[in-house]
């Protein structure tokens, strides 16, 4: 029985305002082909498009899956889990992903910025879930792990040192606490 086992994530999607892929990661075999994946993304996008998921994460059921989602600017964030999954665990993963991307893009969260820093987004996905199992949900830790890796590369965070990156992260945290 699925419910006795570990909470598991079926996929994480980052789509743009037209439903096109920015970055996606599938962990289950429910959608074996790329066209099945695209069909699912389209269905998810159409179903959620008109909802207001900008202040609080929203939730929907689709094809026997629970999907939690949140939008910012022209980016749509989705996390999908099984029908019996604890909705709040999925929401925690979504929030971790959402906030980590916010930290990594230093507040400029939109499609352009996301594509320009696609390496960070992909690393971020890699740090959140491994093969469906939740690795980490704390945005600051996730962003910290991703940022520390790109320090030497001269990618957008190049000017920052690790400690600076963490300082930004911390600052973000305090701000979100004060809200």
């Amino acid at each position: 029985m699925v419910k006795d086992t570990c909470p598991s994530i079926k996929n994480i999607l980052l789509l743009d305002s037209e439903g096109k892929r920015v970055a996606v990661k599938y962990y289950s075999n429910d959608w074996p082909t790329n066209s099945a994946k695209e069909a699912f993304e389209k269905a998810v996008f159409t179903k959620t498009q008109k909802t207001n998921a900008r202040t609080e994460a929203e939730i929907a059921m689709l094809e026997g899956n629970v999907i939690v989602y949140k939008f910012v600017q022209d980016l749509h964030f989705f996390v999908t889990g099984g029908e019996d999954e604890n909705e709040l665990i999925l929401a925690t993963v979504l929030q971790g992903f959402f906030d980590a991307v916010g930290l990594l893009l230093r507040g400029n969260v939109d499609k352009k910025e996301a594509l320009e820093n696609l390496d960070l987004i992909l690393l971020c996905l890699d740090e959140i879930v491994d093969g469906g199992i939740i690795l980490e949900t704390d945005a600051n830790v996730i962003a910290g792990k991703v940022a520390s890796h790109s320090v030497d590369v001269g990618a957008p965070l190049s000017e920052q040192t690790i400690s600076q990156a963490l300082a930004t992260a911390r600052e973000h945290l305090t701000r979100s606490l004060l809200k």
Binding site: K3, D4, T5, C6, P7, R21, A23, V24, N34, K37, E38, T51, N52, E56, A57, E58, I59, A60, M61, V68, N86, E87, L88, I89, L90, A91, T92, K111, K112, L115, E116, L118, D119, L122, L123, D126, D130, G131, I133, I134, L135, E136, T137, K145, S148, H149, S150, V151, D152, V153, G154, A155
Partner: protein, 885 residues
């Protein structure tokens, strides 16, 4: 150096800008050659990897050769000391998922990283290596993985533990050796490490109940730091509770732990615990209350996810414990206007389940406003909820039926319309008062219905129900309109319906004939054929005579044969001199495969066809038996039982028996298998002692000449019994044979054999063997048409039973009859249940059984058994089966 990935075109600034605009696979693969440069440029390499990953992410695929080339090029990048680049290399290798022979290339690099001083290298190298490795390599790195599990750095430990969870699926025997380390990691101070360790430890031990129970006992007393780990612990605890409940009584173990989790500071833990409590087997109201209270608080949360989670759980609770949820009704009503329509729909359907008779009207008013702005899929859920509400409060049918007919007139897709029509049909069937009203609504609907399927189904239904109403004539106009305005399929259905009115209602006959005659000029073959058939059978040259019962049965009687069976028989029928004989079609309904019973408690949809099963094995048996000359004059096979094992599993000789029942004979088919490679059995017979079966006399037996190792053979024994009488008895069996030694390597058989015997278990012929599972499509109609002439009713105490469901299934299997309308499924926690069974008794006597069960406190089950059949002996016989069972 700092060139953007693709040059930005200044003139087209308005257009959406993407760094990957115009990216092309071939060009990127060319670019990947920089990986081979002697002077690596880490930044450039990272960019190229990002582009490759972008392509893969967009659904682009690499050919085998391309993937191999990229993989080999990427492995060169291990030379670079650049941390960021290494991180991208890891990602790339995982995405490429290299084949076994390629993996070897990177193994040593990854193993070096696994023992590196840099935490990030260790953690990632472990994840990559475990992802791509196979069992043989794993033994080499096992030592490092064990160390990693207890590594000071939580990221490294988590990486090793999560990899362990994945590896457990492919190489469990290796991962199981790590349990000491994993156990230690469960005590880790790092929250996520504890979570991963707990998950792995449980999976290692999941088949060992005692170990899991111990694990839960120790952890529920200690402190678990991470909310995720706490959720896991709740799941494991409920598992232990479920298994313990079957052996223990009294206070539920661990309930206190679950209850204490309701006061946890993390919402995900509170919710997990609340949900766990609501799903406990046989949960009491006292146990439910604290869980319902926290869920009620969630209902007014500002977070949609919380509201959704809570209302979804309460919705499930409302199915079994509607009273427990009523406290939340006020909060639930305010959710009807929730922005999130999923939440609103769940709230409404919950209210429909918990509502009482007086609140129905108010609720319907609210729903009417709500229906216009939700999607079809939600509307279907609401329609189904309204249907069950109407069945619960039949007095309220008027407002509910009105509601259904109103929404039927509005726009909607096929599934939605079908759900509404099904609901109206079920209401018509179950609430007699609602019949005429409902039929008129359906008539109005087909006046403007775009779905052929629904039109034909409704016309068929009208033909069955319409003639029985007080004024059948008022439906004729609606039906005949179809003949003018619709496509051929609907026209043909309308013709059949008209004919039914003509056949059933004599007063209407002349007028119906006039209409049918007009149909003779229809443009479609099928329509003309049907009109001709009906005119010639029902009406003889316009004379108004009462339609013959035989003709009625032929034209409109329900086919007592499962459609699937007749389909197979027709497919097997080869055109020959002999016409197809419908009596040769087996009537046995095969039990449906479990997969189809996914939705327990869901009543089959109203218009759906009668239950039909896959083609049966009866065909095969019949063919087999008729090929044996000794049995050829026994007549038609009435029923074959399921195989009954006569030996324990894994004995020297495996024997099971199938009982074939004929009108005057019983044939036992012993299926024997020799499981000893060193033996060959010859002249195998079964010696049957029928001294405890007085009414039976052995007439024939058919031994088996030889029974080699592992190739099953059959032995038959035939007995005569009084005609048409369900004689019962006990038979003891002995297998007698000559054993010859066989050399299993060469297959040589020794010439000399030894006579030997082997005792088999006893075999009984019981009354249930004379009852055939034959379903009826509409139990109520069938019940009424048999009538109360030979009804027998009695009450029985079944003594203490494990559960109601267990008692119901025991009686069903005792009687060997077909459960109808899904009544074999007992709702969880219900205290009473009605089960409908149908079957055919030997001699072709229809039998219907209505069972009413009740259970009280100490699991005492009482049962009321009502039997109707066409023969009072048979009715008595059914009672006898139960009384002696």
């Amino acid at each position: 150096m700092a060139q953007p990935l693709v040059k930005k075109d200044d003139d087209r600034d308005d257009e959406e800008y993407s760094p990957f605009l115009g990216i092309e696979k071939g060009a990127v693969l060319q670019e990947a050659r920089v990986f081979n440069d002697p002077q690596l440029d880490p930044r450039r390499c990272s960019q190229v990897i990002t582009k490759l990953l972008y392509l893969l992410n967009q659904g682009e695929t690499f050919t085998k050769i391309e993937a191999t080339e990229v993989f080999f090029a990427v492995t060169k990048l291990f030379q670079s000391r650049d941390i960021g680049l290494r991180r991208m290399v890891y990602l790339m290798i995982k995405e490429l998922s290299p084949s076994a022979d390629e993996v070897i290339i990177v193994t040593s690099s990854l193993m070096k990283d696994m023992t590196s001083k840099t935490d990030m290298y260790r953690a990632n190298a472990i994840r990559v290596l475990c992802r791509i490795t196979d069992g043989t390599l794993l033994t080499q790195i096992e030592r490092y993985l064990k160390q990693a599990i207890v590594d000071k750095n939580p990221v490294v430990a988590s990486a090793a533990l999560v990899s362990g969870i994945h590896l457990l699926e492919t190489t469990p025997e290796i991962v199981k050796r790590w349990s000491n380390e994993v156990q230690e990691a469960v005590q880790s101070r790092a929250a996520l490490v504890q979570f991963h360790a707990l998950a792995l430890l449980h999976q290692i031990r999941q088949n060992d109940r005692l170990a899991v129970s111990k694990l839960v006992t120790s952890l529920t007393r200690g402190t678990v730091r991470s909310p995720l780990a706490q959720c896991l612990l709740i799941r494991y605890t409920t598992q232990v509770i479920r298994e313990a409940a079957t052996t223990q009584t009294g206070d539920r173990p661990f309930y206190d732990f679950l209850e204490s989790c309701l006061r946890h500071k993390a919402e995900m833990v509170i919710f997990e615990a609340a949900r766990a409590i609501t799903e406990l087997n046989g949960v009491t109201n006292r146990e439910l209350t604290p869980a319902i209270t926290v869920l009620q608080l969630f209902l007014s949360s500002s977070k949609p996810v919380l509201r959704f989670a809570a209302v979804r759980t309460l919705n499930k609770v409302a199915m079994t414990h509607p009273m427990a949820v009523t406290n939340c009704n006020i909060d639930m009503e305010s959710l009807i206007s929730d922005q999130n329509r999923s939440i609103a729909t769940l709230a409404i359907t919950t209210l429909l389940k918990t509502g009482n008779e007086s609140s129905v009207d108010r609720l319907m008013k609210q729903i009417t406003n709500f229906m216009s702005d939700i999607a079809d899929e939600f509307k279907i859920v609401v329609v189904e909820a309204i249907r069950s509400l109407c069945l619960k409060f039949p007095l309220k049918y008027r407002s509910l039926m009105n509601f259904l007919s109103n929404i039927l007139r509005e726009e909607g897709g096929f599934e939605y319309k079908k759900a509404i029509v099904d609901s109206i049909v079920i209401l018509i069937r179950d609430i007699p008062d609602a019949k005429e009203n409902g039929l008129l609504h359906l008539c109005e609907f087909i006046e403007d219905c775009e779905f052929t399927y629904l039109s034909t189904q409704i016309l068929h239904f009208l033909g069955t129900e319409g003639p029985k109403t007080s004024d059948p004539s008022k439906y004729i106009r609606y039906i005949y309109n179809r003949v003018h305005l619709e496509n051929a399929t609907v026209r043909a259905a309308a013709v059949s319906t008209l004919a039914k009115f003509g056949a059933m209602v004599d007063a209407l006959k002349p007028r119906v004939f006039v209409l049918l005659r007009r149909c003779l000029y229809d443009g479609d073959d099928e329509v003309r054929d049907r009109a001709t058939l009906y005119l010639n059978t029902v009406g003889s040259d316009g004379e108004v005579i009462e339609t013959d019962k035989v003709v009625k049965d032929f034209l409109f009687g329900s086919l007592d044969i499962p459609l699937a069976n007749i389909e197979t028989s027709l497919k097997n029928y080869e055109p020959a001199e002999q016409p197809f004989d419908i009596n040769s079609v087996p009537k046995e309904v095969k039990t449906q495969p479990l997969a189809e019973k996914k939705a327990p408690g869901k009543k089959p949809a109203g218009l759906g066809a009668p239950p039909s099963g896959p083609p049966s094995t009866v065909d095969a048996y019949e063919k087999l038996l008729s090929s044996i000359p000794e049995f050829s004059d026994f007549g038609k096979l009435f029923k074959s039982s399921a195989p009954v094992e006569l030996t324990e599993a894994e004995t020297e000789y495996a024997v099971n028996v199938v009982k074939h029942i004929f009108d005057r004979h019983v044939v036992f088919q012993y299926n024997c298998t020799n499981t000893i490679p060193e033996q060959l059995l010859e002249n195998v017979t079964v010696i049957v002692d029928a001294s405890e079966a007085e009414e039976f006399a052995e007439v024939a037996s058919k031994p088996l000449r030889s029974l080699p190792y592992d190739s099953p053979g059959q032995i038959f024994g035939a007995f005569e019994k009084p005609e048409g009488v369900p004689a019962v008895g006990k038979f003891s069996n002995m297998l007698r044979f000559i054993v010859k030694e066989v050399d299993p390597t060469t297959g040589d058989v020794e010439d000399d054999g030894v006579e030997d015997e082997y005792q088999l278990e006893d075999l009984e012929v019981v009354a249930a063997d004379y009852v055939m599972k034959v379903g009826v499509s509409n139990f109520r109609n069938a019940w009424e048409s048999i009538g109360p002439d030979f009804e027998r009713v009695d009450e029985y105490g079944l003594g203490p039973r494990e559960s109601l469901a267990e008692a119901v299934s025991a009686v069903i299997s005792l009687l060997g009859m077909q459960p109808c309308e899904g009544t074999e499924v007992v709702a969880n926690n219900s205290r009473s249940h009605t089960c409908l069974l149908s079957g055919v008794f030997i001699g072709n006597v229809k039998v219907l059984v209505r069972l009413q069960f009740g259970i009280d406190g100490p699991k005492e089950v009482a049962m009321k058994l009502a039997v109707r059949s066409e023969d009072d002996n048979v009715s008595d016989m059914i009672h006898e089966i139960v009384a002696s069972g």
